[in-house]
């Protein structure tokens, strides 16, 4: 994973002809020097602009470039000339050695959202022809659509930016603008924070952590994301399970049956599901469906064995039977009436209970409000005085008359008191609901039996008026009815079995998901993550020492595994550091990220840009050490670009002994060009 800046060209067309600059960058340390206001920022910000990353600096949609590129430029002679047209080109190389040149107009008749990519080093070899491709930036979709430049740049860098959680959306792409500040420290706000000044207006949750995790290629984010996905899957499983269970329960309820011993919530123990069974409401109470069906089958077998009698031979039996069934039907009707009446009473009870629960909930809210309000207070007031402000008498916390209560329950106790009342009433309501369900089952069973009884009565009566020689219809009918019932119960059983099979599959998925979840590391960081953070901490300490960090011993520094910021023995480092140490720490952190990239597998591009590294805030010795350390990047095949306006004599002395590329401009960086190609 690497990216090198190769060459930069700035051009501006004026009435006096073309002005411009051509900067070449090399591996290792590059020091860009020019005096203040001579165009250093134009170069560094120009590179941000050409890559379409201006939203890294501000959410505003204006061109973040000084006037030299947008309105007028000052010549070395001190003359201001108008800029009529301008553009910027940057040549970059990726880890595969592929070089592209990115062009973007600044002031031109073209749309400044358009970026042209030449697939080759068109700045270094201006005479060669390269394939060109156009992309857009700054519009919605620039990071996601194929014709978006940031989508292209992401591929070019070999990155795959993750989808992360946003405040407004569940998934937001981690934008390039939030990652670049990790290795591109911009002069205005870039120096203000560690790990980096990352724009927050993309509304990404914990964007600083996400950026560090991405740059270091930590598994932490992936682990966290997996954990969340697994939880979502578990929730979905639970919902599906409950829906199936409830549907089955309702289906059985309509036939006066209910589910027994079948877990209502997902279980990983699939075997326990085979213990589930159906029970049926009968006159003798709830009976397992198997037993009931067996009894019916025996009855049917008995009926089958008997020969169907004729009406004449069977008349007395029919009459007796008719009387018996009529009585039985009366009995059932009475029972049904009793249950219906009870249901009516219970419905009123239930409403009263629900009202009571609602009132308690309201009172609970008020009490909780009181608890919060008691914490509000000013210097001279509180919202619940415990003494009378006038006469200093002790006060009970109530607006009743002070004599009304012997002692007032403290608010915390009052809240738990209401909570326990609530849970009691909710318990009663739950029990009532269960009993209602039970009664509904019983009612369904009674209706079924009453219908059967009336049907029997009708056939028995028909038998009595039928010719004496015909076969007794009531006996046949009883057989038919028994068969039908057996079939109904068989249907119930097969519906039940189907649901159990489905639940068994769910249980299996549930078990697998739980297993997957338990295999995730307990804390957020994986072992390799911890190794990387450890390495980063080591490098941070070593550099802090080298740069002369002195607020406390650099040995006490480490990187927090929670925030990825430097900390001292578990405490975030805040204002206690001196301004110079804060800058040293920032140098150390950004360089440590770069150096970690050479030995660990990270997404760091191996590039570090420091725009005005605030050496004034530090000391010369520290600055020298910083440059020295940065120059080692060449050995690792990395690139560091410093732009500075440090006193040139001091700088020359420091860099004279260093292996680095000097890019020094004595006057204005933008100079007259002989041709448009510079």
């Amino acid at each position: 994973m690497s990216c090198m800046l190769r060459s930069l060209r700035l051009r501006a067309l004026t009435p006096d002809g073309w002005y411009g600059a051509h900067l070449g960058f090399k591996d290792g340390l590059n020091v860009l020097w020019a005096d203040n206001t001579m165009g250093k920022s134009t170069c560094i910000q120009g590179m941000i602009y050409v890559l379409g990353l201006e939203r890294m600096l501000s959410p505003r949609r204006e061109i973040p470039l000084p006037h030299a590129m947008t309105s007028y430029l000052t010549t070395d002679g001190g003359k201001n000339v108008r800029v009529m047209q301008s553009d910027i080109s940057l040549e970059i190389e990726n880890s595969a050695g592929v070089v592209i040149t990115v062009h973007r107009p600044v002031l031109s008749s073209f749309d400044d959202r358009l970026i042209t990519v030449s697939h080759g080093p068109s700045l270094t070899n201006p005479d060669d022809q390269f394939r060109e491709q156009k992309f857009f930036v700054r519009d919605p979709g620039a990071a996601q659509r194929e014709d978006g430049f940031h989508y292209f740049l992401e591929q070019f860098l070999g990155w795959q930016l993750p989808k992360v959680r946003g405040y407004e959306k569940d998934e937001v792409k981690l934008y390039l603008e939030t990652v670049f500040p990790m290795f591109w420290v911009e002069q205005k706000s870039g120096w203000s924070s560690i790990p980096a000044a990352i724009p927050t207006y993309f509304r990404i949750k914990e964007v600083h952590k996400r950026a560090v995790e991405f740059i270091l290629s930590l598994e932490a984010y992936e682990i966290e994301r997996q954990r969340e996905q697994l939880n979502e899957r578990l929730n979905a499983l639970t919902r599906e399970w409950e829906i199936r269970w409830n549907d089955l329960g309702q289906h059985l309820g309509r036939s006066g049956a209910r589910i027994e011993s079948l877990s209502q919530r997902p279980t990983a123990d699939g075997d326990s599901l085979s213990k589930g069974f159906i029970s049926v409401a009968t006159l003798a109470g709830w009976v397992p469906l198997d037993d009931h069906a067996r009894a019916l089958r025996e009855k049917l077998a008995d009926l089958d064995r008997q020969e169907v009698p004729t009406v004449a031979s069977n008349a007395p039996a029919i009459e007796a039977k008719l009387a018996e069934i009529s009585n039985f039907a009366d009995e059932l009707n009475r029972e049904r009436l009793v249950i219906k009446q009870l249901n009516g009473i219970k419905r009123t009870d239930k409403e009263a209970l629900e009202r009571r629960i609602q009132t308690l909930k309201e009172d609970l809210t008020k009490n909780q409000d009181v608890q919060k309000l008691q914490r509000f207070s000013g210097v001279q007031w509180s919202l619940s005085p415990d003494r009378c402000p006038t006469c200093e008498q002790a006060l009970g916390d109530t607006l009743l008359s002070q004599n009304a209560l012997a002692s007032v329950m403290p608010i915390e106790d009052n809240i738990s008191y209401i909570k326990s009342e609530l849970s009691m009433f909710e318990g009663i309501l739950h029990r009532e609901n269960e009993e209602t369900k039970e009664r509904e089952g019983k009612l369904a069973q009674l209706s079924r039996d009453i219908n059967d009884a009336y049907y029997q009565i009708r056939t028995l009566r028909a038998d009595l008026v039928a010719p004496g020689g015909s076969a007794s219809a009531s006996v046949i009918q009883e057989k038919v009815m028994t068969e039908r019932r057996i079939k109904d119960f068989d249907d119930l059983q097969s519906a039940f079995d189907q649901v159990v099979t489905a639940l068994e599959q769910l249980a299996e998925t549930y078990r697998d998901t739980l297993k997957e979840k338990s295999e995730l590391p307990d804390d957020e960081l994986s072992d390799s993550d911890k190794a990387k953070i450890g390495k980063l901490s080591d490098l941070l300490r070593a550099q802090a020492r080298q740069f002369g960090f002195s607020t406390f011993s650099p040995e006490e520094l480490s990187i927090s595994p929670d925030t990825y910021r430097p900390e001292k023995e578990g405490f975030e480092i805040g204002f206690e550091t001196s301004a110079s140490d804060a800058i040293r720490l920032k140098w150390a952190y950004q360089l440590a990220l770069l150096e970690t990239a050479s030995s660990e597998n990270t997404n760091h591009p191996g590039l570090l840009v420091f725009d005005e590294p605030r050496q004034q805030s530090s000391s010369r010795v520290s600055f020298e050490q910083l440059l020295k350390r940065a120059s080692l990047s060449k050995r690792r095949g990395q690139q560091v670009i410093f732009s500075t306006s440090e006193d040139l004599s001091v700088l020359t002395e420091i860099i004279s002994s260093l292996d680095c590329n000097r890019i020094i401009f004595q006057g204005h960086i933008l100079q007259p060009l002989a041709t448009a190609h510079g």
């Binding site: 008020k366 919060k372 509000f376 000013g378 619940s384 607006l399 009743l400 106790d413 009052n414």
Partner: protein
């Protein structure tokens, strides 16, 4: 009885002591609730002051959902002044007394209540916290500014009956 529950046996020999337990108080009879609601009622009124008549009406209406609905209906002309229930809440006067002694409100000629500088600060603090007195605040912010003395008079005096 030989088959008494074992618990009964234990209890029979036990020594009993009785301790007075503090009594629970409804949330809306607590000082903090009453004083806060008073402050908000005045805070949302025009000119940061309100008459006792209005405060009594609000104090009764704000407590329950039904009351809030009636008062809302009154200013939206869905209810007539005689349709809404009114009551003198004894706690309101105590809340005013405490708030006054703490320097949060001023009482003018026994007729109107206004907020002191401190009272405005306290009310702003409560109003700014989105987690506390949610229903009450929404109600008072909507109703208080629109409840004029004329409406209050017709509610309390029942002039339509005459």
């Amino acid at each position: 009885m030989p088959n008494e529950s074992p618990f009964q046996a234990i209890l029979a020999d036990a020594e009993f002591t009785f301790t007075a337990r503090p009594e629970p108080v409804a949330g809306d009879l607590r000082m903090a609730w009453g004083i806060s609601v008073l402050l908000l009622s005045v805070f949302y009124s025009r000119g940061k002051k309100a008459s006792f008549q209005k405060l009594q009406f609000l104090a009764h209406a704000v407590r329950l959902k039904e009351g809030r609905e009636e008062a809302t209906g009154l200013i939206e002309n869905r209810y007539r002044p005689l349709d809404v229930s009114v009551r003198v809440e004894p706690w309101l006067n105590r809340a005013v007394a405490f708030a006054h002694s703490m320097g949060l409100v001023s009482v003018n000629k026994g007729l109107t209540v206004g907020l002191t500088e401190q009272g405005v600060k306290a009310a702003e603090m409560i109003a700014a916290d989105g987690d506390v007195l949610v229903d009450e605040r929404v109600f008072l912010a909507k109703i208080s500014p629109r409840l004029t003395d004329a409406i209050m008079k017709s509610v309390w005096h029942g002039e339509e009956l005459l």
